[in-house]
Symmetry: C2
């Protein structure tokens, strides 16, 4: 699916000759004709006989929209704007058939447009024929249709639709794109609330793999529509807040020449006659941008981890929200900047995405995300003390296991009433070689993690900016200095002290909403077992 025409030319496709083009035109004509015929057939079939159909021109299968004309006279109204048209003239609406049911002389059809739904009615009379009612009742679910209708106020609320105070009295109906009659999953099933009352176990659930295998359908549920709009909001807020703070966006290469830390968990790429790797993080490049005087930088982009981890929170490819910042004297200048960025993101989501949060809440149990301002900062040692107080045995220099991490999250929530906190001063022993040791206590380091609902979503640190000290620390870790020579070299031309961190975007969205699986917040997730769609 390459767009660049230079590539297209070299993709080995034969150019179409004029003769072939003519044949093509014929085929297109034929397809058009077929559509018209199908419409006629559908109408006749609906009639069940050859009785004259006074509504014949008002419904059918539309020919494929090939940009033949602009039909600029048709002004379309969105479903959520329909209330402004109640009691007024005819409007055109395009949407999907969510459900449709013809019964006798009436057809009730629910039209869906993204997360909005509206009831449509066709009743036999002067305008509508019984053939037309039958046609409408037979349109496969998920087909895209154009209707011309009047918006009419209803006396009792329509509970099954988002537009509860009106319905559409349809006068014309055309199928724009017809869906298969058999769908691999029903939007209704895929949208069902997780905690719905289902004592008899009759409700069909759609499992994760079926959803992901048919992502185009699955993404149409109101919850998914909301999740990915909120995800776009997280990125937007991240960028806007940092831009406001004077950060510059950069782009870092994904294909790199050397696996930075010994080659563990890294994907290999064939690069012409050579081998290369996919970057596990943009860190080296962010640091180079700092050494190159960009002062404060961020980057949003794909990050790759060849870990064979099949958990609820690991992906092999995810979106990294990374930032790096020069500071004057203390890495807390950076730590506070990152902490405040999170606070601003949480506020932005709460204030600007309340509709999306509510939509997700209709299907999944979403507990409101709590945060403090300014954010809570605990020392690693304090965290250890809290765990010990709760009866957990854990060493001073031991990393937090996933269960301990989660428990600590619960303890912090109970004590401080916040779903977000920062753990500062991790033990030096469990951090990478380039982490700046704590000058005041050799057991610790100038590094931090940040947590949402008890799960780590950012890891960061002050980096060693002195090349000699970096060599010393790398040797101490048993790292082959020759393999990181280029990295060390970038600090030899003067480099300000700096710190930063990397955030997993999908994790932030998952944990903000309190969802149980990261595959719910990656549009097309990649894990060791999934490479499609």
């Amino acid at each position: 699916m390459v767009e660049d025409k230079e590539n297209t030319a070299s993709a080995g496709q034969e150019p179409v000759s004029k003769k072939a083009a003519k044949k093509q035109a014929k085929l297109a004509k034929k397809a058009e004709h077929k559509a018209d015929t199908a419409a006629a057939l559908a109408a006749n079939e609906a009639a069940g006989d050859s009785a004259a159909d006074h509504a014949a021109a008002r419904y059918g299968l539309s020919e494929m929209i090939q940009s033949k004309d602009k039909r600029s006279e048709r002004e379309f109204v969105t479903v959520s704007d329909l209330n402004a048209h109640v009691g007024k003239g005819l409007v055109w609406v395009r949407g999907r058939v969510h459900t449709t049911r013809a019964k006798g002389k009436q057809c009730f059809l629910i039209l869906r447009q993204q997360s909005s739904t509206v009831q449509c009615i066709l009743a036999v009379g002067d305008i509508i024929s019984k053939q037309m009612v039958k046609f409408a009742g037979n349109i496969p679910k998920e087909s895209i249709i154009d209707i011309q209708a009047k918006a009419v106020a209803v006396p009792t609320k329509i509970e099954s639709c988002t537009e509860q105070l009106l319905e559409l009295s349809v006068e014309q109906i055309f199928v724009i794109s017809q869906a298969k009659a058999q769908l691999p999953l029903q939007i209704e099933d895929a949208s069902r609330p997780e905690n719905a009352d289902d004592a008899e176990g009759l409700n069909i659930r759609v499992n994760q793999d079926t959803r992901l295998d048919n992502r185009v359908l699955d993404l149409r549920t109101p919850a998914n529509q909301a999740i990915f709009r909120l995800e776009a909001g997280v990125c937007r807020l991240f960028r806007d807040i940092l831009t406001e703070k004077g950060f510059t966006e950069i782009h870092t290469p994904k294909i790199i020449s050397a696996a930075s830390e010994g080659g563990a968990n890294v994907f290999t790429v064939s690069y012409f006659k050579d081998s290369a790797y996919l970057a596990q993080s943009p860190q080296l490049y962010k640091q180079m941008a700092i050494a190159a005087d960009f002062d404060k930088v961020y980057t949003v982009g794909a990050v790759f981890r060849a870990e064979d981890s099949n958990t609820h929170r690991h992906l092999t490819e995810f979106v990294g929200l990374d930032l790096e910042m020069a500071f004057k004297y203390h890495y807390h200048e950076v730590l506070h900047t990152i902490g405040n960025t999170f606070t601003a993101i949480f506020k932005g989501l709460r204030d600007k995405y309340s509709r999306e949060i509510e939509a997700v809440g209709q299907q999944y149990k979403v507990e409101p995300f709590k945060f403090l301002e300014p954010p809570l900062i605990l020392q690693f040692a304090e965290g250890v003390a809290m765990l010990r107080e709760a009866g957990i045995e854990t060493g001073d220099e031991e990393d937090l296991s996933t269960p301990n991490e989660k428990l600590l999250g619960r303890l912090v929530k109970a004590k401080y009433d916040t779903d977000f906190y920062i753990l500062d001063k991790f033990p030096l022993a469990i951090r990478p070689f380039y982490t700046m040791p704590d000058p005041n206590n050799p057991m610790y380091s100038n590094s931090y993690d940040m947590f949402m609902r008890g799960e780590e979503i950012l890891s960061g640190a002050q980096r060693i900016h002195d090349p000699e000290y970096l060599i010393e620390r790398a040797k101490h870790h048993g790292i082959d200095i020759t393999k990181i020579a280029a990295y060390i070299e970038s600090f030899r031309y003067g480099c300000p002290p700096h710190a930063g961190g990397g955030i997993g975007m999908e994790r932030v969205v998952m944990l903000y909403l309190g969802l149980d699986n990261i595959r719910k917040t990656s549009m097309f997730p990649r894990d060791p077992k999934r490479l499609t769609p």
Copy 2:
């Protein structure tokens, strides 16, 4: 350089024992001591004898900034804000030594901070000793220093600095991060105007490879500082303008299971026990997002092309600004949206990035970018006619060669006075199989390219949204239907007509500024011969 601690643990690094930690602390102490000693030594050496140095406490090599204390009493002033401090008290400034020269009892030092420069002066007297002057004169270029100084108005403009009306009278000077004495390139050389008067050929030029090999230094030139800030602006404008128009940002996978168009020009990745590919474009995923009701989407991300093209405008990895949009009846709804987005980007750059454009212009010959509002749209056939009028032989269904593309750009500029235009209705024969044919003329298609200064920067089209017609067209192109089954399948559940396009970010920046090589607008470029840094 992995940040996730879970990875760190698995990267095979031994945890540091307490004993080792103590040793570590000792080493750090030693390094500190070394620094102090070095400062003392430097001072003594400067003195040339053991004479008492009354300024000894006011200069030296600072110990490595390890976040020991916050020194919050030191308020730093940026160079560009210094004019507000003229005639007032002492201020602290951190920056790089751009040049320094001690001569007798005085030292002239130019301090650089990103693109700003200011002259600093140290003169022997009550505050400054001759040792201190010598010390300042010996600081290697590009070192980062902290100075405490008074801003003083100067009677005659300092032409060599961006701050021309003031200089800094230094009272304290400390080296924060010392650069190597020998630099692989001089910022001065790398910043020299391309068209500088150099009759004797004495000026050193820095070639592209030397620049890229030492990118951390090269990026410090005022032109590069400006180029990458403007590039961030292009992305920001692209996103903001589309968000304003109701688009949603999405993220698409870079690792894909099948090479979409026969496997030409695609990088292969080892994926656990399997093989995978790097995406050449997000098109399939954008289209799936449209089929999934996101209506209007864009994505900014890495795109990979395994083409062995070593030209001024090809990269193997670049940043794609991609968008896709459902429309009602005519793909021109999308074409106009894209065209207007470009107009808004050009206006945004002109209005908000004039300083950056000017900075680039100091080094490279930048002709102002001209555009029309609304943008000029020509038919492909009109373009062919213009070329023929200029004496070029070219077929009706022949693609534009690069020289013809450039010539057409010049002809359009001469006739319409615009550096941006849209060429609509490309011949069907030279476009990919999924391009919608023109319903009114079988020789053409509903596809378009957009050009800046005569080079293609966007290619796009209405895509075929009807699965049967798509199969027909694929077969016509001799494509194995089984290999694109998943792609076709995504249109079987109802899909609105849609169109879109893909933009090469680096090309937009290169052509907007009129630069001659795409490596100038990629921070860390990748081409068939370059994988580093």
